[in-house]
């Protein structure tokens, strides 16, 4: 039996990217290996650790649990898509640096995207709401404290900038 590769178009970080993939290729692997967007990471490949998180139409989802062929027609945002420009940091990214909301950096892109989505819907989250929002992202380094502080700080700063924590 033959298993055909499919030609699809993915909308990634605002650009249309045509790819040819086997159906079994996860969105994660497609982003990493074909589009060379290596900011999303594989931690478990069974949907628990959250290191593979990307935004699908602004909502955090596990890219290891989607096949690339299911991902057409959505606006896909990766960490590369929320980075303003070469050498620049978004307020969220800068907040994570300010509080040292990471150590090894492996879960960090996922945390940042999740935080973006949280603040887009809830610009003044309580600590409990932040904990809830990131509870699907496992970090083994930080014990979460400095991550939570980063999101609190980012929320404060973004409110003060009078800038909507807009959908990237």
């Amino acid at each position: 039996m033959s298993f055909e590769a499919l030609r699809i178009e993915l909308n990634v970080n605002g650009e249309t990217r045509p790819v040819e993939v086997e159906p079994r290729t996860s969105l994660l692997d497609c982003l990493r290996e074909q589009l060379l967007l290596t900011g999303a990471h594989a931690g478990c490949e069974h949907g628990v650790c959250g290191a593979c998180t990307v935004l699908i139409d602004g909502t955090p989802m596990r890219s290891c649990l989607m096949f690339a062929v299911q991902a057409d027609g959505y606006a896909i945002t990766t960490i590369e898509g929320v980075t303003p420009g070469p050498g620049e940091l978004s307020p969220m990214q800068d907040a994570f640096c300010e509080t040292h909301g990471m150590q090894c950096g492996y879960c960090t892109p996922a945390m940042i995207l999740t935080a973006h989505a949280l603040l887009a819907n809830n610009p003044a989250p309580t600590r409990a709401e932040i904990v809830d929002a990131i509870s699907g992202n496992i970090c083994r380094c930080t014990g979460y404290a400095q991550i939570i502080e980063a999101i609190v700080l980012a929320a404060e700063r973004m409110r003060r900038l009078n800038q909507p924590a807009s959908q990237p």
Partner: protein
């Protein structure tokens, strides 16, 4: 953990999907994929063809129909969390949804996917059984219905054949004035599969006497249980804690709880009693506040 190879099809209608399902060997439906994809990654499921029904418009909806709320099988769990009809008319489902997995899995996972997966610890299945929901499915060209209690046959096993496709679930709406819901589960970490769970919906009359009660126990046995005996015994009472506890304890004395890596059968039985009492207590408090509150 890469799945075994497969072909992928995205039918545009339910008819097309059913025709594809009928066609072949080793064909499986995918909607949200939150339970299927991990199984495929571990090669425990290895369909040769995946039929993606996630975007078939006729399968995603929330509607009132008389005294029921009908929900299309591919409606996303996160959509249901925020849906005003669900919150108003199926409050037990709305109460339970935040406990289902994590926000990122609810963003993709569907109500039909959870039901068809039939994990004994799944919250949505518990609510379906507790409220006496009816599931609709298509098999080839024919549509059929089955009560939730008969739908679940065992762990990860349902009455659906390999070529059937769940299409909708119908929840009865309670119209009583003083309505309340309660849900409690115990798990190692929040959002893990529960070791035991209890869901309750009840109505009180103007004097605080229980008029109607539905109690379900999940994750304890291989399928969710509805304890009709408990309902019968508690209707007409004021739901005093000791009465509730004694009634539930008696009802659960004869069940055969699961035992596994996480807990013993006895633990599940005892936890079920505790959780049921708490769920009923919460529901009663909510009902006595006057309007149905989540």
């Amino acid at each position: 953990m890469k799945p075994a190879a497969f072909n992928y099809a995205r039918p545009k209608s339910l008819d097309e999907a059913c025709a594809m399902l009928a066609e072949g060997d080793d064909v499986r439906i995918i909607a949200g994929g939150q339970t299927l994809v991990p199984l495929m990654a571990m090669r425990l499921a290895r369909p040769k063809r995946l039929i993606d029904i996630a975007r078939i418009p006729e399968l995603a909806f929330v509607r009132r129909e008389g005294d029921t709320v009908v929900i299309g099988a591919t409606t996303r769990q996160c959509a249901l969390e925020h849906d005003p009809i669900v919150r108003a008319d199926v409050p037990l489902l709305a109460r339970v949804l935040p406990f289902v997995g994590h926000a990122p899995t609810r963003a993709r996972g569907t109500i039909g996917g959870s039901l068809a997966n039939a994990d004994p610890a799944a919250e949505i299945g518990l609510v379906a059984v507790t409220l006496g929901a009816t599931l609709s499915y298509r098999e080839g060209g024919a549509t059929a219905e089955i009560p939730a209690a008969e739908f679940f046959e065992g762990p990860m096993m349902t009455a659906l054949s390999a070529t059937a496709c769940l299409t909708a679930v119908r929840f009865p709406v309670w119209r009583e004035a003083h309505l309340g819901t309660g849900f409690h589960e115990i798990n190692a970490r929040r959002s893990d599969f529960a070791f035991a769970a209890a869901s309750a919906q009840l109505a009180l009359d103007g004097d605080g006497i229980c008029q109607r009660l539905a109690l379900g126990i999940g994750a304890v046995t291989t399928v969710p249980l509805r304890l009709d005996g408990v309902s019968d015994a508690l209707i007409g009472t004021r739901l005093e804690e000791s009465t509730v506890r004694a009634t539930v304890t008696e009802a659960l004395a004869g069940i055969d709880p699961m035992s596994d890596l996480h807990c013993s059968a006895d633990y599940r039985r005892r936890a079920a009693v505790t959780l049921a009492v708490r769920a009923i207590t919460d529901a009663a408090k909510a009902a006595s506040r006057g309007a149905h509150v989540l």
